[in-house]
Amino acid sequence: MAGNAWRSTLLKLLERFGVRISDASGTPEVSRVIGAIKTQTPQPRTFSRGIQTVTLIPGDGIGPEISTAVMKIFEAAKAPIQWEERNVTAIQGPGGKWMIPSEAKESMDKNKIGLKGPLKTPIAAGHPSMNLLLRKTFDLYANVRPCVSIEGYKTPYTDVDLVTIRENTEGEYSGIEHVIVDGVVQSIKLITEDASRRIAEYAFEYARNNQRASVTAVHKANIMRMSDGLFLRKCREVAENFKDVKFTEMYLDTVCLNMVQDPSQFDVLVMPNLYGDILSDLCAGLIGGLGVTPSGNIGANGVAIFESVHGTAPDIAGKDLANPTALLLSAVMMLRHMGLHSYAKKIETSCYDTIRDKKLLTKDLGGNSKCSEFTDDICRRVKDME
């Protein structure tokens, strides 16, 4: 693993000076480490060893206040992160095509790492959802959601520790629909060999980099023989190259059935778009909902955008009542991805300690403290850890 890190570092250094060495093996760039709780292998990403710039997209509704909270906590932890705030309201480019503002795109392309708050999708604004636009712009093909039970936030399930990896570009969400005749609609689910292989490779890389024991492909190939069959075949092929990780296949309904009875039996799950959507939300529900679940989107060309997946909560926006946990844990995921494990551990432990303590919880976690009080408590703990 260290060999690959050095290799890509050298390649980057050479690229900086305009020298490009073609990747002889033809495989895509080694995917980055996205931390689950267990990873400790350091992977220095920048050779400048200085401050890393990250694009921050505060978002709408409660977005700005939770972003401020995260920045405050990072400052208290003295994390070597510099934030570059950008706005991603859709603008119409030449030719009528909707795109994100060029400053935002340039910033992301330069920094490669982003942190995003919730974005509202205005109805009837004429443009597609912002999340969809970001996904298309940066080819964010993998959505990763680690779900770990939070000690201190009680749910009926206490031993959840799994990761859902969802193919994010095709499948049932291709958006291709037609009215065949009046009253008959067909929606097309698209599965391609390339996308399936890419997501399978990512899943196995992730499992290997994070010391996860097994990868389970979730499918419904008994009914959708060709499409899910293709997905499954690609997963099996990729599994051949990763003999150290156990590969199993399971029907979607069996996974759902077993997940709500005993989630501890699952490790890494990889699946096409729709099943991923349903299962990742199911798993988020097991640990306490979208308000405490982190999420990361991995794109081609090394781009990674980490986000909170909850809504904009316009009813509590600006009232200092929001819960920044989801965005904070996504930021922790980001730190691990960048190799800054010690800072990640510090911030995450402080966050969990504050929640476990139960004295200063926001309303959605069952308390009645303000967002600022919650944030200050975490900052205090982080400083105490120095």
Binding site: G183, V184, A221, I223, L257, N258, M259, V260, L282
Partner: protein
């Protein structure tokens, strides 16, 4: 929608098609036959075997013909080898589409004595059973790119919505939740949702709610008590019914019914083959036995249904008589034997003409309501 008893009734005895299927199907259905014989239920089973390994579709076509003849069937799940090419279709799916069994109904209830993470669940799930993602229409236009078609039609969506609201009214339920993903599949699920709304207009006493499928699963694992009746297209139905079965205690507990206009096929709700536990005498017979009871209600043999159901639920509530899937150590045959003993203890059947209906929420005397002889047993209606 009141189902007429099927015409295959000669000399007071009904004939029912029995499809053993694979995995745990044959052994559990044998137990059903054994129990029915023990209770002198006036039902004769016509066994039709379907070989899942055979490539010809003759077996399943025979089964379909038999069901058309008898009107009612009890089946185990037929295994589908998903590594075979597309030409080998899922036998279960073929059965459902040939007989146009358009509504899959599953009544999920928390049962006393069964270990689970949640309590007080009582949901009826109605799933469109013939179209949607299960249309089996796939093609590969360009090598490496596969398209799978999901078909939603106005006719079928109206039909299932009508069924759902009618059932809700019959059972005295107040709320129907339509589960969809219309924010992404605007035309397909949008049409489904629109049909539900149209039908809802004709049932002012019942409220229609709608929820996106990912939010639904999240709500189900945190607060499942908020749901009453749910209606949805095929694939979401698959997910939601499996989640609900898991919430009440597992695949071995819940029966499911596939209703068509003229036919009804009864099976376990989550349609598991149970290959890994087949022939080991450890499978939980509850789902299959309760499916048998629902079938008896369908055949208007209510007294028998009541008697067997009561015994099954009483046995289930005792921890020392639970099978491995519930954390117990009892074998299947021990459970069935205990059920028979329980029935024997209850004495002979009394055909009581005073009906006390309980189990429906508004306490009206409706013909499909289960009869509850005493207050201790839990009533299950489908």
């Amino acid at each position: 929608f009141t189902h007429q008893p099927p015409p295959a009734k000669y000399g007071g005895r009904h004939t029912v098609t029995l499809i053993p299927g694979d995995g745990i199907g044959p052994e559990l259905l044998n137990h059903v036959r054994e129990l029915f014989r023990f209770c002198c239920v006036p039902v004769d089973f016509e066994v039709v075997n379907v070989n899942s390994a055979a490539s010809s579709e003759d077996d399943i076509n025979n089964a379909v013909t038999a069901i058309k003849r008898n009107g009612v069937a009890l089946k185990g799940n037929i295994e589908t080898n998903h590594n075979l090419p597309r030409s080998h279709k899922s036998r279960n799916n073929l059965l459902r589409t040939s007989l146009d069994l358009y509504a899959n109904v599953m009544h999920c209830q928390s049962l006393p004595g069964v270990p689970s993470h949640h309590k007080d669940i009582d949901v009826i799930i109605i799933r469109e059973n013939t179209e949607g993602e299960y249309s089996s229409l796939e093609h590969e236009n360009v090598p490496g790119v596969v398209e799978s078609l999901k078909i939603i039609t106005r006719v079928n969506s109206l039909r299932i919505a009508e069924y759902a609201f009618n059932l809700a009214r019959e059972k005295g339920r107040r709320k129907v939740t339509a589960v969809h993903k219309a924010n992404i599949m605007k035309l397909g699920d949008g049409l489904f949702l629109q049909c539900c709304k149209e039908v809802a207009a004709g049932y002012p006493d019942i409220t229609l709610d709608d929820m996106i499928v990912d939010n639904t699963t999240m709500q189900l694992v945190s607060k499942p008590q908020q749901f009453d009746v749910m209606v949805m297209p095929n694939l979401y139905g698959n997910v939601v019914s499996n989640v609900c079965a898991g919430l009440v205690g597992g695949p071995g507990l819940v029966p499911g019914v596939n209703y068509g206009k003229d036919y009804a096929v009864f099976e376990s709700a989550t349609r598991n083959t149970g290959r890994s536990i087949a022939n080991k005498n450890i499978a939980n017979p509850t789902a299959t036995l309760l499916a048998g009871c629902v079938m008896l209600d369908h055949l208007k043999l209510h007294a028998y249904a009541r008697m067997i159901r009561k015994a099954v639920l009483k046995t289930l509530s005792e921890t020392r008589l639970q099978t491995a899937d519930l954390g117990g150590q009892c074998t299947t045959s021990e459970v069935v034997h205990s059920i028979m003993q329980e029935i024997q203890r209850g004495g002979h059947i009394t055909t009581d003409l005073n009906f006390i209906s309980a189990g429906s929420r508004d306490h009206t005397n409706s013909p499909n309501t289960c009869l509850m002889p005493n207050t201790e047993s839990v009533c299950l209606t489908v």
